[in-house]
Symmetry: C2
Subunit: 152 residues, 2 copies
C-alpha cells in the first residue's frame, strides 16, 4: 500500500513538469547549502554502487535497485540551487556554470539520463549491463565535475 | 518514458526491503554530514508546502505533488546515519536517540506515514485535505525534533 501511494504520487508529480525554482525565495547561502546537500547524498547512494561495479564490494542487485531509485530522485535536486544570486557564495562551483549555462544544462541532462538508464538496467537482472550503467553514471558525474567544479 | 523507468525502478526497489545500512562503511563524521544533508533537503521541499498550508504562499497543487514525491524519497534517507559510532560527533542529536531507540524509530515511522499520506492527498484534488496532510507532516517533524534534537 505504501509502495502504491509512493508510485502514484510520483506519477502525478513527474507528469506535472513543475519547476520548484519559481517558488524558491531562499537566500543564496541557503541555496548553496541545499545543492551541496543533494551532491552529498548522491555520493552516499552512488558510492556503494561504484564499489560494486569495480568489484571492491560484493554485487547485490537489490541494493543497486534501491540506491538507483533514490539517486533518481536526488538527481533532480541540485540544479535550481545554481542561481545567479549564488555566484559570489564561496563554493567549489566554477564560473563556467553561469558563463556556459547551455553546456552545464547538457551535463545535467546527461547525468539524469544515465541515472534513469541505471534504474532501468537495475531491474533487468543482467549484472554486467547494470555494472556498465553504473559506470556510465560515474562518467557523467566526473565529466560535469571536470568542467564545472574546482579540483578537490 | 522517463517517468515509466523511474516508477518501475522504484517499484522494484521498494519491494526488495533492502536496507543500505549493511553496506555502509562510512566514517562517523560522514554519516552525520549525510543525515544532516537529508534533513536540509527535507526542509527545502517541505518549506514551500508549509507556507501554502499556512496561507503565506499561493496554493499550487502541482507544486505540492512534486515536493511531496521528493520528500517521500528523502524521508527514507536520514535514519541509517544515526549509528552508535556517531554518538560523539558534534551535532544537534540528543542522547535520547540512542537511549530510547524504540521511541525514535516510532517517530521516524510517524513521519514517513505522514509523508505518504500527504503524497496520497496531493493527488486527490482536495485542497483542504492536502493542507491538513501538510500540517500532519509538520507536526511529525516538530514532535521528533522536540524529543530528539537540541533546541535551535
Amino acid at each position: 500500500m505504501k509502495t502504491k501511494l509512493f508510485l502514484s504520487g510520483l506519477a502525478l508529480a513527474l507528469c506535472s513538469g513543475y519547476s520548484l525554482t519559481a517558488l524558491s525565495q531562499a537566500k543564496p547561502d541557503v541555496l548553496v547549502k541545499q545543492r551541496q546537500a543533494a551532491m552529498t547524498l548522491q555520493g552516499k547512494y552512488f558510492g556503494p554502487m561504484a564499489g560494486m561495479a569495480q568489484g571492491k564490494v560484493p554485487y547485490r542487485a537489490d541494493a543497486v535497485a534501491y540506491n538507483a531509485s533514490l539517486l533518481n530522485a536526488l538527481s533532480r535536486m541540485p540544479w535550481d540551487g545554481f542561481t545567479d544570486a549564488t555566484k559570489d557564495v564561496k563554493s567549489a562551483a566554477l564560473p563556467a556554470i553561469w558563463s556556459d549555462a547551455a553546456k552545464f544544462k547538457q551535463a545535467q541532462d546527461t547525468f539524469q539520463n544515465a541515472v534513469q538508464a541505471l534504474v532501468s538496467a537495475s531491474k533487468g537482472g543482467d549484472e554486467a549491463a547494470t555494472k556498465a550503467a553504473i559506470g556510465a553514471v560515474g562518467k557523467a558525474c566526473g565529466a560535469c565535475h571536470q568542467d564545472f567544479r574546482q579540483k578537490q
